[in-house]
């Protein structure tokens, strides 16, 4: 376990070595947060309630979504496809450690750093604009942790799956771009998914994207509006279903990829 802890610490040190890059990345995150936050704040201020969301609940939703989205989605697995293309992956495969765990701990360092910065930014942001801090709903706390864990693993394996496409194609940026667009549309980063018409909302619940952070955010901010619409057991089983499918597909791609992988000159 010690070696993975070292991977975790080294990844953190990498970020501190390239501080400006990381700070600019966080600045981008804050700018991206401004659009949906102020758009929905303006709407709920104007019409008081939008599909059950009031000013207070929209603030709460975006507060927790800012904290959790980059914690769940933060990843270093994007490097993998390049490592496959330039053969660098050989160095990792030859090491006496699990490739999956290695990247899991790298991701963990990324996530923790993102979470800390998100806390700091949102605290300053709410103070500067005199926005009241939302309260936390502890009633569904166990469910929050369950869905948070599911979201973390779903995000990890989905990202790995896309990176492993590098075993067969040099064009890995295009699938990642469409994945990124799908996440921005279907995961709830631009709006709470339950403001959509019922049928469309249920359709999105059938995809893995809503389990990345929409469900965990709802569980800690406004669980009642969600629980009134869908059965928690139902969404739990859908999330587990997707996790199993994506886990085994990722493993399969990894094994097939390693068999088809060849590189020379290093």
């Amino acid at each position: 376990m010690n070696k993975y802890f070292s991977v975790f610490i080294l990844t953190l040190k990498e970020y501190f070595a390239y501080r400006l890059n990381f700070l600019i990345w966080r600045l981008r995150v804050v700018i991206a947060f401004l659009i949906p936050f102020f758009l929905w704040l303006t709407i709920t201020k104007q019409i008081k309630t939008f599909e059950g969301y009031e000013e207070k609940s929209i603030i709460s939703y975006f507060f927790f979504s800012h904290l959790l989205s980059y914690f769940i989605l933060g990843t270093r697995t994007v490097d993998i496809s390049n490592q496959i293309q330039n053969g660098e992956i050989i160095n990792l495969i030859l090491k006496p450690m699990s490739f999956f765990r290695y990247y899991f701990f790298r991701d963990l360092a990324d996530k923790i750093l993102n979470l800390l910065f998100s806390f700091f930014e949102i605290f300053i942001f709410f103070k500067v604009f005199f926005i009241p801090f939302p309260s936390t709903n502890f009633q569904f706390l166990p469910f929050f942790f369950i869905f948070l864990t599911l979201g973390l693993f779903l995000s990890f394996y989905l990202n790995l799956l896309i990176s492993f496409l590098g075993f067969w194609s040099t064009e890995t940026w295009a699938p990642r771009f469409i994945f990124f667009i799908l996440i921005s549309i279907l995961s709830g980063s631009f709006f709470p998914l339950d403001v959509l018409p019922k049928n469309l909302f249920y359709l999105i619940l059938a995809t893995p994207f809503s389990y990345l952070f929409f469900i965990p955010v709802k569980m800690i901010s406004e669980p009642k509006t969600l629980v009134n619409k869908v059965d928690v057991e139902f969404i739990f089983f859908i999330a587990i279903f997707w996790l199993i499918i994506i886990f085994f597909t990722t493993r399969l791609l990894w094994q097939k990829g390693l068999k088809s992988f060849s590189f020379w000159g290093r």
């Binding site: 981008r28 102020f38 709407i43 104007q46 040099t170 064009e171 469409i178 667009i181 549309i185």
Partner: protein, 263 residues
């Protein structure tokens, strides 16, 4: 003078032709990228309709006005991506020292580093964006006078976006920080997808007077609906002219400080 322009156009077309060949090398990627961009466009378009199913205005802007604003944003943003794609590839030139090979060529370096990588995929997207824009403008009862101001201010927006891209190039010469700078520009520009009035006053002020995203996108649409004072129209032209001058000056400073490295 005329001969020089003709020569520059010829070089520009040559680079464009090369860029088209490079882009179409991977057809799968072309298809996926275009699909993703269309998806994003349709999604945000749908979001506007979703919001307006519950309200008849956002900060005083009606559905049609917001749609025209959103399409104007897409037009200006896509225009800059069509023409200035090469800016995204500027950093490796500076880091490797290969920029020297461009600077010694007998044409203006902007022809290569700014305009040398026309993205024809995005150009295709300009067709539906402008068709939809014309369709929605025709639905409104706008005077020829207001429409003329709109067109003039959209062109003014193009000038502002050009200035921003030159700033990024100059920053690249000084610090090699191109990738982050261009992405921050894109993120800030995205704020213009919706009326600048939705943001708190201090943010609106910053994005109107300091980083004039509002001037680029919100002002043309306001002029179309006769909601922009003459004073603000003059201000728009002045600020874009000033930005363009400053960006060129900044580029010249960058060139003086540039030390070829790596090559």
């Amino acid at each position: 003078m005329f001969k020089k322009i003709k020569r520059n156009i010829k070089i520009f077309l040559l680079f464009t032709n090369q860029s088209l060949k490079t882009t179409t090398q991977s057809r799968q990627a072309v298809f996926i990228f275009t699909l993703a961009k269309i998806l994003r466009f349709i999604f945000l378009f749908g979001l506007i309709f979703l919001i307006f199913s519950k309200t008849n205005n956002i900060s005083g802007w009606s559905l049609n006005q917001i749609i025209i604003l959103y399409l104007t944003f897409n037009l200006i943003d896509t225009f800059s991506q069509v023409l200035y794609r090469e800016v995204y590839r500027f950093r490796p030139l500076v880091v490797s020292g290969n920029l020297d090979l461009i600077l010694v060529k007998p044409y203006h370096p902007f022809l290569k580093v700014l305009l040398g990588g026309v993205d024809l995929l995005d150009f295709l997207l300009l067709i539906p964006y402008s068709s939809l824009l014309i369709f929605f403008i025709l639905k409104e009862n706008v005077s020829f006078f207001s429409f003329s101001w709109y067109i003039a201010l959209v062109f003014n927006g193009f000038i502002t976006t050009t200035a921003f891209h030159i700033f990024v190039l100059a920053l690249g010469l000084l610090t090699t920080e191109v990738d982050n700078a261009i992405m921050i520009y894109r993120d800030i520009l995205n704020l213009g997808r919706f009326p600048i009035e939705i943001y708190q006053e201090i943010i609106s002020f910053i994005f109107t007077f300091i980083i004039p995203i509002g001037v680029m996108i919100t002002f043309p649409v306001k002029a179309l609906f006769n909601l922009l004072s003459f004073k603000n129209i003059i201000f728009s032209f002045l600020i874009s002219f000033l930005l363009l001058l400053l960006s060129i000056k900044f580029w010249q400073i960058g060139l003086k400080k540039y030390q070829s490295a790596g090559g």
